[in-house]
Amino acid sequence: MTVPQPTPEEIKERATIDRSTRYPVMFFFTSAAAWLLAATILGFLSSLKLRVPGLWDECQFMGYGRLFPAHLNALVYGWAMQAGIGVMLWLMARLTRTPLRQTVAVLVTGHLWNAAVALAVCTVWFGFGKSIPLLDFPTWVWPILAIAYALTVMWVIPMFRTRREGLPYISEMFVVGAVLWFPWIFVTANILINKGTAPVMGAGLNAWFISNLSYFWMAPVSLAVAYYIIPKISGRPIFSYPLAHASFWLLAFLAGWTGFSRYMGGPFPAWMSAISGAASIFILLAIVATVVNLMISLKGCSKLWRYSPSLRFTVFGMLMLAIYAILSAASSTYFFGKDLQFSHFMVGLDTLAFYGFFSMTIFGAIYFIVPRITGSEWPSGERIRTHFWFSAYGIITLVITMLVGGIAQGGDLAVWDRAFSVSFVNSSAYVVGRATAWGLIGYSNLLFLCQLYQMFIGKGRKSEGPTLLHTEPGKAASAKAAAGMS
């Protein structure tokens, strides 16, 4: 099946839309990539500190309890959310065929967001944190983040409402969902936790926030990308559109119930972790249905991901999403969860969400978007390939070592008369894997950052054809299709 070719007017219109988003979207991408590099360095240092506890003892800024939360904040608010916002703006402009008119406003709020992230990272790092993952900045920081977010993404709503014809595409629904849900969970969690009247719910809400951030923000944004990139590059429609709709609503109705299973057996009524566990298991249906739907749409096009960087990253991200859903469902049952709870596995699971499925899909989107808005091609396909393999091996190493290390650690803790330090000693070998993984990811992102800045300052390759992962003589036609020339 082939897609109708765009008319010259349509190509012109697309170019206008792409140009309108150029500066804000490039601003979000480049500053996000810089935060990502900072986050990977902090991640590497914190893993090293965990493996060698005596390292840098004199320096208060190099403690694990300071480095690790700073790393998480930089990774999620600095990189993931910022890159996601850029992708959302571009995707919405393209899908609704509306140019982004508020360029200056978005640039201003983008700077505000970066300032707030810098505050969030630095306050935690310099010792004003609250020891609750991802919400541990001082109370006055969160309103800045919330306002910057709202003022940046609110332009998506008028775009959605002025779209011209037909039913909304599934990607638009995911974007609108992500736009609305994030402020709701973020404001709720921050207000209630800082109110401090229900201490135990404060911790529970923190777990609820982390899980909701994955399923209510990161999953929708990456699915919006996947539902756009995969049909675009393969040139085929989604295999089953009703299935896509059904899994969208299934995800929407279930995601809010997840999270409390992280503290199962904790000081909460038992029904709360039970219902969260059940929701995590049922969500598996939505995620697996979505991923299978997308993979079937690609059937027979497997050659394309040899060439297209966007497709390769996106497909890898979707597979990671399925693995994330499976692992989080497994760990919310007592059978697996009671040993994995509080072990290294939880770090692996969270990183799988933030880096594994979200970032990899977003890289796919960035490789697709940037050439279109800057009007030049990526300088080197080889470096994209290195970026992919180092990132992929990095995240796989991290997840596997943290899973196995978590099982080792949890198994030692489950034997009641075994000395506690045994669990530390036995699992610390796996922390080497975590440090190695951040090293690999750090190298891959250094390359990514260099390429992105080259594109930013207009030093991209000026060429008719897109940059592919491999170039084979005589295959230019298929290669051109592979990169989704449109």
Partner: protein
């Protein structure tokens, strides 16, 4: 027409989120905010003239309120939990000294009221180090607690804890380390950690 479609989508998305928001977040939060101390029934004999569970005075120790902030700021909760799970969810209560005073041979799981003196219960993220719910029973000596902070490997060779040297200043003659305000407050807080107050018996 356009508005209808948009309104429908927004209504659907809001409904999807409102259900868990009300039932999993707001209702438990309001219930949790209204937790009151439970009086002990007549005939239940409690040491020390304590009349209700929890008795907040039991959890105050010196500058433990400031120590709580130091505990949070140093990120202690990233490696130490403060939650004892019931036996069906893990072996926490069998571990010596975790679920209560070791010599009493009594242990119980932590409950919501055990955290009423906190603003945010530091349940913790991981267990790189041991659970601290009842560390105030396990380590009662102030100097020993300080040694755990500035030189943990001198107590357990395999300890994975870093030395928190920035909480200690060198004495003027350079012979020993002197705890600063933060270290004293943190030790006060750690010594105050006891989550095994007897529960009121029912009826």
């Amino acid at each position: 027409m356009k508005f209808d479609r948009f309104a429908k989508l927004i209504a659907g998305l809001s409904l999807a989120f409102a259900l868990p928001w009300i039932f999993l977040v707001m209702v438990p939060f309001i219930t949790g905010s209204n937790l009151e101390a439970l009086p002990y029934p007549e005939g239940q004999d409690i040491d020390g003239g304590v009349t209700a569970y929890p008795d907040k005075a039991l959890y105050q120790y010196g500058s433990s309120d400031y120590g709580r902030q130091v505990y949070a700021a140093e990120g202690c909760a990233y490696c130490h939990t403060q939650v004892i799970r019931p036996t069906y969810a893990g072996a926490d209560m069998w571990r010596k000294g975790w679920g209560g005073r070791e010599e009493d041979g009594f242990a119980r799981e932590t409950q919501a009221r055990d955290y009423l003196q906190e603003e945010i219960a530091p349940l913790g993220y991981q267990r790189i180090g041991p659970d601290l719910s009842n560390v105030g029973h396990r380590i009662t000596d102030r100097d020993l607690m300080h040694r755990h902070l500035f030189d943990p490997t001198s107590i357990d060779r395999d300890s994975g804890m870093p030395a928190f040297l920035h909480l200690y200043d060198e004495a003027p003659d350079g012979s020993k380390l002197v705890p600063n305000k933060k270290a004293e407050a943190l030790v006060d807080y750690l010594l105050s950690l006891k989550k095994d107050q007897p529960l009121p018996s029912k009826g």
